[in-house]
């Protein structure tokens, strides 16, 4: 049952992606992207990644879209100018895509409980978490404790982005000449 | 310890001098006093080293790479070279003072500073205990002479400088470095060892290739076709040319060739494998060709430059004959050619200062107005040609003996032919100076000898040429000791 839902949703996602590639209206693309994120989040739910879905919904559909809209508002750009240079990119993506398909030949199937990814490290998280950390949400316990250092890095990344945007767009970012005019 | 200190001081003293000179920028007299006294002090130091030669001293300055120290040591050939270089520095300085002031050159301080640095590098080359050290100082020498070559700063000077640097750097990095790494790879060290270090360490079939890499890599030896830099560097002021041709640069080149032949390859190895054969011919061809080119040059300095190319090939040829007599001849030729060539360059410079003439065809009859200069030029030419009463005789004599000992009769013939050519292109100059009448006789009265300092210097070197004829014995013994120790 879940598999059918999964199939349908993934197929929908592909359509969205094509739509975004195709759309010339930047605003349209931004809106589509918001939906694309929501759609991804749905897929995450289907694939049992509720925390990820939560985040993707808040970030992809919320923050990213708002930011893209803000940028559109500032730049006033509406339509994408198309330049005819489709061959090379097609070639590059084609080659990389082929590499990925090649990679998939030996992959364990989706959902295989005996796939190596599900066997080596993970059981300890699922079994040990209750005793060692005693919180039911294993994602949180892995995120915050077992791999807490990654999360520190993650916070630093977002902090870096904050600093970066502040530095670029903050009140003092414009050139001196413009400041004088104000 | 003391000897090691002297060794280090020998290399550092000119550097120290350079710093002092730079500090005396605004006081020309003081500056030149410093230069002169440094030079004298240095000469004394080298003499002391010469005296304490009894035991070989070695000093490790640094260890840049594992198994590859930067070290100095004393060794007869090196000491000879060091003596020549430091002795001639004094004379060149005296001469430069006259020349630079007489010509009112710009940037004199820079000139003296880099001169001192290049002398330091030369001494480093002379005293280096291994090929790596030699290479390091060799490159320092190249770089420190570059500002001297381009001293005038004109477009022509820059072009000359570019060729100079281009050829020397590219040959040394392109070939010499490669040869060195190869040697190191095969042997594991690069120390100059009597009898050579390559014996049995490398496929005999590769030896000619390696030797060729060395000989052409040492671009300063100006073996054709890598001789282009030498004529190109003729744009430099005369004292610099003297430095290049007599004191430091080219001599460092042939010195390195001798060192490599004797201490890296070892004469026996070369003789046994015959690796030297075709390079010997390359040198022989250079001897003849350069002489022929010199004949065609009207510009005095250009002619002298090609003469140098030819004379350097003598020494290389001596090395390639791979027997002790020829090597001794080659070593002696370093000294005798140095004195002879420096005399000739001083004369050329003196003529330029006095008359601003550079072409031989314009110099007819000058001998009467500048008798001292021309007399010195005559002596210098004789020495280069190798006629009696000058030191040049002995070096050529031993070279010829070496050719005979190696039973290379064709090479002997080359020596003879080239000596004749020398007569043709060198002796003609003083002859024209003395016996032809100047084209515009009205000028003659205004022409005087060059400034005193210059004339003094060139007289000294000319006397030196003659002195070597009478006192060649110590020179020979010194060179011979190189092989004694080996036995």
């Amino acid at each position: 049952m879940v598999a059918i839902v999964d199939f349908a949703l993934l197929a929908g996602l592909a359509v969205w992606a094509l739509g975004i590639v195709h759309l010339r209206s930047l605003f349209g693309a931004a809106m589509m992207f918001g939906i694309y994120s929501l759609h991804c989040a749905l897929i995450f739910v289907v694939l049992d990644a509720v925390d990820v879905a939560f985040t993707e919904a808040a970030v992809g559909a919320g923050i990213s879209t708002v930011l893209i809209l803000s940028t559109l508002a500032i730049t006033g750009a509406k339509l994408e100018v198309r330049h005819s240079r489709a061959m090379m990119p097609l070639l590059i993506t084609g080659v990389i895509g082929a590499a990925l398909i090649y990679a998939s030949l030996d992959m364990p199937l989706v959902g295989d409980p005996s796939a190596p990814a599900n066997l080596h490290v993970v059981p300890r998280y699922l079994q040990g978490s209750a005793a060692e950390i005693n919180i039911p949400n294993v994602v949180t316990s892995v995120l915050a404790s077992y791999r807490g250092y990654d999360t520190l890095g993650e916070v630093t990344v977002i902090f870096t982005a904050g600093i970066g945007v502040l530095c670029l767009l903050g009140r003092h970012s414009r050139k001196r000449s413009r400041r004088r005019r104000e | 310890m003391a000897a090691q200190g002297t060794l280090l001081l020998t290399v550092l003293l000119p550097l120290l001098g350079a710093v002092l000179i730079a500090m005396c920028n605004s006081k020309p007299n003081l500056r030149e006093t410093v230069t002169l006294s440094t030079a004298t002090l240095l000469f004394l130091l080298v003499l002391q080293l010469l005296g304490s030669d009894a035991q070989q001293t070695e000093l490790i300055i640094a260890r840049p790479l594992p198994g590859l120290p930067l070290s100095l040591s004393t060794e007869p050939l090196g000491l000879l070279f060091a003596t020549v270089a430091s002795g001639l520095w004094i004379i060149t300085t005296i001469y430069s003072i006259g020349y630079m002031r007489g010509n009112k050159e710009q940037n004199q301080t820079r000139f003296y500073v880099f001169f001192a640095v290049s002398i330091s590098a030369t001494l480093g080359v002379a005293l280096s205990a291994n090929l790596f050290t030699l290479f390091v100082f060799y490159e320092v020498l190249t770089l420190s002479t570059y500002p001297l070559v381009t001293h005038k700063g004109t477009e022509e000077a820059k072009r000359g400088g570019r060729v100079y640097l281009g050829v020397l750097l590219s040959t040394s990095i392109g070939f010499l470095l490669l040869a060195m790494v190869w040697t190191w790879h095969a042997v594991g060290h690069l120390n100059f060892t009597p009898g050579g270090i390559l014996q049995g360490r490398i496929e005999p079939g590769f030896l000619p290739l390696l030797l060729a890499l060395y000989l052409f890599g040492i671009g300063k030896a100006a073996l054709m076709p890598f001789h282009r830099w030498l004529p190109a560097a003729m744009v430099a002021p005369t004292p610099v040319s003297a430095l290049l041709h007599a004191v430091a640069v080219v001599k460092a080149g042939v010195f390195a060739v001798l060192k490599v032949t004797v201490y890296i390859f070892g004469l026996d190895l070369l003789r046994d494998t015959g690796a030297n054969r075709w390079l010997m011919w390359a040198a022989a061809i250079t001897v003849i060709l350069a002489s022929l080119v010199a004949l065609t040059k009207d510009n005095l300095k250009a002619r002298l430059a090609y003469s140098t190319v030819s004379q350097l090939a003598y020494i290389v040829l001596g090395a390639m004959l791979v027997n002790s007599v020829a090597i001794i001849g080659g070593g002696m030729h370093i000294a005798t050619h140095a004195l002879g060539k420096i005399t000739l360059f001083f004369c050329a410079g003196a003529i330029y200062v006095a008359t601003h003439k550079t072409n031989i065809s314009e110099m007819d009859g000058l001998g009467k107005s500048m008798p001292v200069t021309y007399a010195a030029m005559l002596i210098g030419s004789l020495s280069i040609i190798g006629l009696p009463l000058t030191g040049g005789l002995w070096s050529k004599w031993y070279l010829a003996l070496g050719a005979a000992a190696a039973e290379q009769w064709a090479i002997l013939a080359v020596f003879m032919v080239s000596s004749l050519l020398n007569v043709a292109y060198l002796l003609i100059i003083p002859i024209r100076g003395f016996f032809l009448t100047p084209p515009g006789s009205g000028q003659a009265g205004t022409i005087q000898e060059a400034p005193f300092a210059s004339v003094l210097a060139l007289s000294l070197t000319a006397l030196g040429c003659i002195a070597l004829f009478f006192f060649a014995q110590p020179l020979y013994e010194m060179m011979a000791s190189m092989f004694e120790r080996q036995l």
């Binding site: 929501l38 289907v46 006033g76 | -």
Partner: protein, 97 residues
């Protein structure tokens, strides 16, 4: 019950596809916004249903977030259209000063 949830889910997916088509076709920007908004609401329902379908109904938090985000997103878009500026100060809020 699972079958019922699945059928409902598929019906919602069908609805989403159709809304998607509107979003892709436009033609006006308001149509797109409408489609996005409708799509968002459907997603909320979808997640709710999925929670039941997979036997973990406590994930409704996500649906809650979706409702809020969807609302904020729509407001942002509308403001963008009216003013081309998301930070614009309204005259109302300035009045008290």
């Amino acid at each position: 019950m699972i079958v019922v949830y699945a059928i409902t889910a598929l019906l919602i997916i069908l609805g989403m596809f159709i809304a998607m088509a509107r979003g892709l076709r436009g033609p006006t920007l308001y149509d797109r916004i409408l489609a996005v908004n409708a799509f968002g609401s459907l997603t909320v329902l979808m997640i709710a249903v999925l929670g039941f379908l997979m036997g973990r109904p406590e994930f409704l938090d996500i649906a809650l977030v979706y409702v809020l985000i969807n609302f904020i997103g729509t407001i942002a878009v509308l403001k963008f259209f009216e003013y081309q500026d998301l930070g614009r100060q309204s005259s109302y809020s300035r009045r008290p000063k």
